[in-house]
Each structure stands twice: as structure tokens, then as C-alpha cells.
């Protein structure tokens, strides 16, 4: 068996934060020890509420931020110590907000061609050809080349961002909520485009979303994050059909409509997302958990296999499986 394309090894990222000039410095743990693998050619869906550390993890995978502890390997090589040019051929981002991810002062052609320019690839004419090819690949026309971002719709901008990410032919693309800032009608188009390009170019995606339905559609593996930790991981079929963690069940209940004959959905999430500066003791989910017992506040459950490849960090994971 070949090594996974992306290996996230016990990654921890802490930020020192202070509220005012004289306030004491405090530590915020945005990512609290995440290990995940992404086999080549697959899509790893990462879900979790806003603020649980998904984007922080994404920046670390992209090599744009250094982990406090742990490391990220892409193709067996540690991203943090790669040269920027080498790193950028391995992994590229597609960000959430196409309104802020494109430099408003550059034309579409300049934006998509910029990676080639930075890498000193080709003559201006060759670069123009490559850009034209990419424009076609993402469903834009040659007449968009001279446009500026302000003249494009959200969906078109996201296509430009995708073209920029793919022009260097990276093996891995980190999509950080690539559709959440778009109109609902456009979301499906961009998802389809991403999936089509993955098949065509043999890409692997780390696909981040707070929307389980989206992840279910695209992912070949799912990891659910809560407050900086992965609480459940497995293939989408299993995780979404028989979730082993109460948090996953609550997330599912919030997207699925109750249907007759399917029984009552789990209760919606009680309480609010905890303050990451003061994480709850034990299992971080226990204050909101319908199953919580005193043990949950005292002892943090490990990410144990519930069955085979399906893992969940809950004292009652095995129970839920039955």
C-alpha cells in the first residue's frame, strides 16, 4: 500500500491572544491534536461548526502557518520546511470568499497567470495560452480574460480562483468552504465543477465545510471536528447513516428534515459553541451532549475505532453502533 498523499500528524496550533494592551496573554488552542490521512485521489471532507479550527488546519496544510506541535506531510515531505516554490506545486487553496481571494487590481488573466509568472514559467505568449486553457477548463470564456474581479459574479470569481489554484497542477487542493459564500443556485455548479476537475486531473481534495449535506455529496472520507479535535471519522456512508458521536448526530439532525417512518430526529444542539479560551473539561462536547454522564466531564474519550475504519471519540461510541 502506498503512503497517503496528505498526512496530518498530531497537529496542534495555539495562539497567544490578549483582549487589551494590559490584559494578560492567554492561550487559545485552535487545533488541539489532529491526525488525519488523505489517500491519493480521494476527497477528505472536514466538517464542523464555525470556529472549530477548520481554517487554521487548512492554513497549516497549505504551509501558510506553522503548527505549534506536530507536522504535515504531503507526498511524504514536511510542508513546513519546503521552499515556497516547491510547496506551491504540491498544494493550492480555494478559499471561501471569492470577493476577497482575488486582487481587485488585477485582471482575470493576470490573476490566473500569476503562479506561472512567479515560477518563471514560459514566455508571456505561452502563459497567455495556458491561462486561456485554464479558463476553458473552469467554464469561463476568452472574453473573461481581460475582466476585473469587480465585473464578475460570485460564481465566476470562484471559477477564477479555481483556475489559479490548478494552473500549477498541484496534487492536493485545499477547499476551505468553497461554496458557502455563494448563492444557493451557484453552489451546485461550483461543486460539480470541482468534482469534474478532480476526476479529470486526478486531484485530491481536503474539502472543508460546515455543511454535512455538501460533504456527503463529495467526500470519500469524512472527519467531524469539534473545538479543535476530530471527534468522528470514517467513510461517509457509515458516518452519516450510523453516526457514533452525539455531536455528529446533532449536526445531522440540523440538516435533515424529520421524515415520517424514520423516527424522531435527535434533539437540536443545545447551548452554544464553547469559548475556545475556556474549553470544557473532559469531552469538550459534554455541556451540550444529551448522553453526558459525570465521566464525560472528567475523562476525555480517545478517538477509538467503533468498528474497523470508523472511529469516534465518545465513551458511548460502541453503544451507539448497536
Amino acid at each position: 500500500m502506498t503512503a497517503p498523499l496528505l498526512q496530518i500528524r498530531d497537529v496542534v496550533r495555539r495562539f497567544g491572544v490578549r483582549r487589551g494592551v494590559f490584559a494578560p496573554r492567554r492561550t487559545l488552542t485552535a487545533v488541539a491534536g489532529v491526525s488525519l490521512d488523505l489517500p491519493r485521489g480521494e476527497v477528505l471532507g472536514l466538517v464542523g461548526e464555525s470556529g472549530c479550527g477548520k481554517s487554521t488546519l487548512a492554513r497549516i496544510v497549505l504551509g501558510l502557518d506553522k503548527p505549534t506541535e506536530g507536522e504535515v506531510l504531503i507526498d511524504g515531505r514536511p510542508v513546513a520546511s519546503l521552499h515556497r516554490l516547491e510547496r506551491s506545486r504540491l498544494v493550492q487553496p480555494v478559499f471561501q470568499d471569492p470577493y476577497s481571494s482575488l486582487n481587485p487590481r488585477r485582471s482575470v488573466e493576470a490573476i490566473i497567470g500569476q503562479p506561472l509568472l512567479v515560477h518563471g514559467e514560459g514566455t508571456p505568449a505561452e502563459r497567455r495560452d495556458r491561462v486561456a486553457e485554464m479558463l476553458g477548463l473552469v467554464g469561463l470564456g476568452p472574453r473573461h480574460a481581460a475582466a476585473y474581479p469587480s465585473q464578475l459574479s460570485g460564481g465566476q470569481r470562484q471559477r477564477v480562483a479555481i483556475a489559479r489554484a490548478l494552473i500549477l497542477r498541484p496534487a492536493l487542493v485545499v477547499c476551505d468552504e468553497p461554496t458557502s459564500a455563494l448563492d444557493v443556485s451557484v453552489q451546485a455548479q461550483i461543486l460539480n465543477l470541482l468534482m469534474e476537475l478532480r476526476a479529470r486531473l486526478g486531484l485530491s481534495y481536503l474539502f472543508i465545510s460546515h455543511n454535512l449535506a455538501v460533504v456527503q455529496l463529495v467526500a470519500s472520507r469524512v472527519a467531524v471536528m469539534y473545538l479543535g479535535r476530530v471527534v468522528e471519522e470514517g467513510d461517509p456512508e457509515t458516518v452519516l447513516r450510523t453516526p457514533a458521536h452525539p455531536y455528529t448526530r446533532a449536526l445531522l439532525a440540523s440538516v435533515l428534515q424529520p421524515r415520517p417512518g424514520r423516527g424522531l430526529p435527535d434533539p437540536q444542539l443545545a447551548g452554544s459553541f464553547p469559548n475556545p479560551l475556556e474549553p470544557p473539561s473532559g469531552c469538550a462536547f459534554h455541556p451540550r451532549c444529551p448522553l453526558a454522564v459525570p465521566r464525560c466531564a472528567a475523562e476525555r474519550p480517545g478517538l477509538d475505532p467503533a468498528t474497523g475504519e470508523h472511529r469516534a471519540a465518545c465513551h458511548f461510541a460502541a453503544l451507539a453502533e448497536t
Binding site: 501558510l64 487553496p93 486582487n103 512567479v118 465585473q151 471559477r159 465543477l193
Partner: protein
């Protein structure tokens, strides 16, 4: 491919954004005229600004006193019989030169410090913030006066002293503007595609800082012109017989009660130039700011 792109919305007409602002248009015309006058001074000025004609001293302009006025001297003559209009025209050269070069010196210092502080943060930011605080604790006019008093006044000294004193606003504005841009995804994307830090600063950040830069630059240029006038007025700036507007105000001071026009004319010139520069800066900012979410 599943989707063909819909047609582009019409390109926003850029000239409309420039010409739609009457303040900007007036300022541009006025400033253009002053600039042209300064550059073409030898051709435009009716007399040599240094030529003294002692039997034609303090002739008022025609609109002040038609009887005493001489038709040759449109704006009269000063106490040494030099043509006032010619001196005002040559004075524009001095104001513009000092304003421009001071702005250049302070702009380079302040922008480098501010962008570095905003982009790198941490220790760099702490050092720059300390420098700004130090600079702000120095009273500009006092320091300028002291230095000029010691070194002696000249065009170069005034430019250098003011340039080394007026960079704080550049630094503060560039710092906060850079901090805002630094967190934007297009800067992250630029790092992700492998751009070097200098390339990011010069090609991603600076073009987007340009509109705030223009506003500060215009403000500081106007400020430098005012300060030069003040220094010259106090006798510590540009030295006579150079026709600086500030110097002209100073020289007219003695005759203020009997010939108030002598002080009013260079005063108006300073006001008009400063106002025009500020309006131009605002206009450029409004017209070049990138459009937000359309």
C-alpha cells in the same frame, strides 16, 4: 463543461468617475494652471522677479487703487519695486518644489516603516510604533526652527528637515491599511502560489494601498507648503531674495496697514494651492478606490 458563463456586465466607465466630482475637476484645473505657470515661469512672468525698480515701489494693483496703479504691473510692485505678479509666479516654483520633495522624502520613509510594521507585526511593529511615538513627541515647528537656525536656511535644508519630520502620518496610515489587507485571502493566495515577500508587498499590497497613499501624500504636500511658508515667514526658511510666498507675506507685514493687498495676495496663493492639492487628493482617492462587492 456544465455551464457557460453569462455575458459580462458593462465595464464601469472610469472617466465618469473622474469627471463626476466637480471639486476634483476645479482642483485639477487650478493645480494644472499653477504647475504650468511654475514650469513656464520665465515665459509667463512679465518681469524679472529680482529686478528692482526703485522709483516704482509699492504700486498697488489696478483693482485696489486705479489712480496709483501702473498698467504694466498687473498685481503691483513690492517695497523694492519688483513686479508682484512675477514674484508670485516664481514663488509657485518654490512652494511646489518643497512640497513635492518633502512629500517624497517623508512618503518613502513613512511607507516603508508603515508597510513593514503592518505586514510583519510583532517586533517590527513594536519598533516602528516606538519610532512614531518618538517622532510625535517632537514639535515639528520647534525642531525645524532649531535645525534651520543651526544649519542655516536653504531649499535643500528645508526639504530634508521637513521630510524627516513629516513621515509619521504616512507610517500610521500605511500600517493600519496594510494590517487590513494582510489578512485578506488574496494575500494568502499569493503566498500559496509561492510569491516572495517583496513581490507580495510590491505587487499585491502597494497597488491596493495607493488610494490611501495618495490622500496622505496630498495632505502632507499641502502641510509641507504651509510649513515652508511659516518657516520663511519667520526668516528661517528659504532666504531672500528668493520669492517664496511665505517670505513675501513676511516682507509685506510692515506695510500691512497701508497696503494690505501685499499680504493678501501671497496669502491667497498659499490657500488656493493648498486647497487644490487637498481636493485633488480626495478626488483621486474616490475615483481609484476599487469597487467593493458589486
Amino acid at each position: 463543461m456544465s455551464v457557460t458563463a453569462p455575458s459580462l456586465p458593462a465595464v464601469r466607465r472610469r472617466p465618469g468617475r473622474w469627471l463626476g466630482n466637480p471639486g476634483f475637476v476645479v482642483a485639477a484645473v487650478v493645480l494644472g494652471a499653477i504647475l504650468l505657470m511654475a514650469v513656464l515661469a520665465p515665459l509667463v512672468a512679465p518681469f524679472d522677479p529680482y529686478e528692482q525698480v526703485l522709483d516704482r515701489r509699492m504700486l498697488p494693483p489696478g483693482f485696489v487703487d486705479a489712480e496709483r496703479a501702473s498698467p504694466a504691473h498687473l498685481l503691483g510692485t513690492d517695497n523694492l519695486g519688483r513686479d508682484y505678479l512675477s514674484r508670485l509666479i516664481y514663488g509657485a516654483r518654490i512652494s511646489l518644489l518643497i512640497g513635492f520633495f518633502t512629500m517624497l522624502v517623508s512618503g518613502v520613509i513613512g511607507t516603508v516603516l508603515g508597510v513593514a510594521a503592518g505586514y510583519f507585526g510583532g517586533r517590527v511593529d513594536a519598533v516602528v510604533s516606538f519610532l512614531v511615538t518618538t517622532r510625535l513627541s517632537l514639535p515639528v515647528v520647534m525642531v525645524a526652527l532649531a535645525v534651520v537656525a543651526v544649519v542655516g536656511g536653504s531649499l535643500q535644508v528645508v526639504v530634508l528637515v521637513l521630510g524627516l519630520l513629516l513621515w509619521d502620518r504616512f507610517a500610521v496610515v500605511m500600517r493600519s491599511a496594510t494590517m487590513q489587507l494582510r489578512g485578506l485571502d488574496y494575500v494568502l493566495a499569493a503566498r500559496a502560489i509561492g510569491s516572495s515577500t517583496p513581490r507580495i508587498l510590491l505587487t499585491e499590497l502597494l497597488p491596493n494601498l495607493a488610494s490611501s497613499l495618495v490622500v496622505v501624500a496630498s495632505y502632507e504636500m499641502a502641510q509641507a507648503i504651509l510649513l515652508e511658508a511659516a518657516l520663511s515667514f519667520l526668516g528661517l526658511g528659504v532666504q531672500p531674495p528668493l520669492p517664496s510666498w511665505g517670505l513675501m507675506v513676511a516682507e509685506a507685514r510692515e506695510f500691512m496697514l497701508f497696503e494690505p493687498w501685499m499680504i493678501v495676495l501671497p496669502g491667497i496663493a498659499i490657500c488656493v494651492l493648498v486647497l487644490a492639492i487637498n481636493l485633488l487628493g480626495d478626488g483621486i482617492r474616490d475615483a481609484t478606490a476599487p469597487e467593493g462587492r458589486a
